[in-house]
């Protein structure tokens, strides 16, 4: 048998194609699911109302528009649900079938999750791009270096999100049902990632949240790419943002792989 890495690379196009086929298997569910990814537009409406009579905490309406449309784009490109998928497969024993294939399940899940991304974004992204250009265009960066760093920043944000969600899913090896933990995680993520409001706005209102956020990966998952997209940053600041993201990526992948290798020893392969 050829080497694992080269075999995995050769298998990727097929895995992505099948991931796409799975995503579009149910048409009605597919359309509803695409519509659910537009939550940042609601946040935008709320904060635009707050800033109607003038800038709020340094953010005027075009800046808020740019920020939340940026959030919509980043959320759509980095969001995934592997924690639920993995948790369900551990609980029901379906994971057994993945373990019988010579492909690390983390690769199989990653390809299945990333295959769905373009479809998830079919509705949200065009809306975001049109609104961003027409309403908040002035607030988007035009710096080529910043724009060049945006793609790696988005990739790193996706990797951190995926790895953390994968590690959360692995908790099912120990506690079977992780719905409550994942919900708690989303609470933390919403607070510390910049999903509810820009982090600098949050920090000036609640300094303790800003301090804690520095020690957590959530900002690197959402706020960091939005900053690269919507703020005018110095080269040092840009590199700091992406450097911190790279650091969190290494930590989160390490945690995910450790959780997997410790958890799979406890797998009970129920059913059958």
């Amino acid at each position: 048998m050829r080497s694992t890495a080269s075999r995995t690379i050769r298998a990727l196009p097929t895995l992505l194609r099948i991931g796409v086929a799975e995503t579009v298997a149910y048409r009605a569910e597919f359309i509803v699911w695409m519509l659910t990814s537009t939550m940042p537009l609601i946040n935008l409406a709320f904060w635009s109302a707050v800033a109607r009579d003038g800038a709020f905490q340094g953010y005027d309406t075009p800046q808020l528009t740019a920020y939340f449309l940026g959030a919509l784009i980043v959320r759509n490109l980095t969001g995934n649900w592997v924690a639920w998928q993995l948790s369900e497969e551990i609980r029901t024993g379906v994971l057994s079938m993945r373990l019988l294939r010579p492909l690390h399940p983390i690769v199989a899940y990653a390809s299945s999750q990333s295959a769905a991304l373009p479809f998830r974004s079919l509705i949200a992204l065009p809306i975001a791009v049109i609104l961003l250009v027409s309403a908040g265009g002035g607030a988007i960066t035009h710096d080529p270096a910043q724009l060049a760093l945006l793609l790696p920043s988005l990739l790193l944000a996706w990797l951190i999100t995926f790895a953390l969600m994968f590690a959360l899913g692995c908790l099912s090896f120990w506690i079977t049902q992780t719905f409550g933990i994942v919900t708690f995680y989303f609470g933390l993520w919403s607070l510390f990632s910049g999903y509810m409001m820009p982090m600098d706005m949050m920090t000036s209102k609640f300094p303790i949240v800003g301090y804690l956020a520095k020690w957590m990966p959530f900002y690197s998952m959402l706020g960091a790419p939005i900053e690269l997209m919507t703020k005018h940053l110095t080269t040092g600041k840009m590199l700091e943002i992406v450097g911190i993201q790279a650091g969190w990526t290494v930590v989160c992948i390490f945690v995910a792989l450790r959780a997997w290798s410790a958890g799979v020893r406890r797998f009970e392969a129920v059913g059958g």
Binding site: R2, A11, A21, A25, L100, R101, P102
Partner: protein, 335 residues
């Protein structure tokens, strides 16, 4: 080759009585029992052997298959499959084995089986030409034409099972773990699957370890059987020899052409059933030639069939003895 030495697998199981009070109590204080699903089992299976793995529900058959295929880590003991330690799940091993579970599907539920086949081809890195050749053979042997393009969820149980077998064999494994592969299938389909497994075993010199609640599967496929009960091995050997040892008498069934007295029948053997002219007797091996001669010559029976006792009956006796032995052991320990 498959080798298990003193294999054990224990599970910690949470137990609580029914009811709201017990449910709330279990939030703060949980009781766990250790279940010895597999308890010191040893055996060796050579390449190309077909072995039936039998036992009552909960005996530890499926757990053993899951340990052997690398899904579960054993609690203790040594195991080796095709030169590998299964729970390490090295790619080389995974390319040589397959596990078919009648109650668990590897097919992608929302897509046609053809998509699972394409995925397995990519993951197992099967060259396209070899894949097409193998799939062609499997399509012919399992009569899959017209099935592989329908979504899996719309296939009948029998159709799905045939597609499952094809998915499990596309990479041409040399060790097959088959856990209830014919469950829920009609008789014709069971026979088709049995023929297919035998054919595959002979063509590829594949090792087959089969569990099934249908004894016909085991009798038709497996010259050797391993029997476990309550996690312990209670028999490992030739199937015919086991039957001969446990119950050497034959079952003789025939249809009479003229009425006969009950007394005359009883002289031939123990009457097992009598439905109209159809008779079934239990006859010792020593008396068999004379009884057959009498039935055909004197009674002029329209037909006659001589069979071994059903494997189900043999196993029932074995499991009964095993339970008794376990109860005696517990009593001795208690005293």
């Amino acid at each position: 080759m498959i080798r298990a030495k003193e294999l054990t697998k224990h599970f910690k199981v949470h137990r609580r009585p029914p009811g709201l009070a017990a449910a709330i109590k279990s939030l703060v204080h949980r009781k766990y029992d250790v279940v010895k699903a597999v308890d010191g089992v040893s055996f060796t299976i050579e390449r190309g052997e077909r072995v039936g793995f039998l036992g009552p529900n909960g005996a530890g058959k499926t757990t053993t298959l899951k340990v052997l295929s690398g899904l579960l880590h054993p609690t203790s003991g040594e195991i080796e499959v095709a030169g590998h330690v299964p729970f390490k799940r090295e790619p080389d091993l995974l390319g040589k084995i397959t596990l078919v579970m009648g109650q668990k599907s590897q097919l992608i539920w929302d897509l046609p089986p053809a998509e699972t086949y394409a995925m397995n081809r990519a993951i197992f890195d099967v060259p396209q030409a070899e894949f097409e050749k193998t799939l062609g053979e499997l399509t012919e042997l399992l009569d899959l034409s017209g099935l592989v393009d329908k979504p899996t969820r719309q296939l009948s149980l029998g159709e799905r099972m045939k597609c499952e077998l094809a998915a499990a064999l596309l990479h041409r494994p040399t060790t097959l773990f088959l856990d209830e592969p014919t469950i829920g299938l009609d008789v014709a389909m069971q026979v088709a699957i049995r023929d297919f497994v035998r054919n595959y075993n002979q063509r590829h010199e594949a090792t087959v370890l089969l569990t099934s609640h249908y004894m016909d599967d085991v009798v038709a496929l497996c010259p050797r059987i391993i029997v476990i009960d309550q996690g312990k091995l209670i028999h490992d050997g030739d199937l015919r020899q086991l039957i001969k040892t446990m119950d050497p008498d034959k079952r003789v069934s025939f249809t009479l052409t003229a009425p006969i007295d009950q007394g005359e029948l009883e002289k031939l053997g123990t009457i097992l059933s009598r439905e109209g002219q159809r008779i079934s007797l239990r006859v010792s091996e020593r008396e068999l030639p004379a009884v057959v001669g009498h039935v055909l010559g004197t009674l002029k029976a329209a037909d006659i069939a001589i069979e071994d006792p059903p494997l189900e009956d043999i196993l029932r006796v074995m499991f009964g003895r095993s339970k008794e032995a376990a109860a005696n052991h517990k009593e001795t320990e208690a005293s």
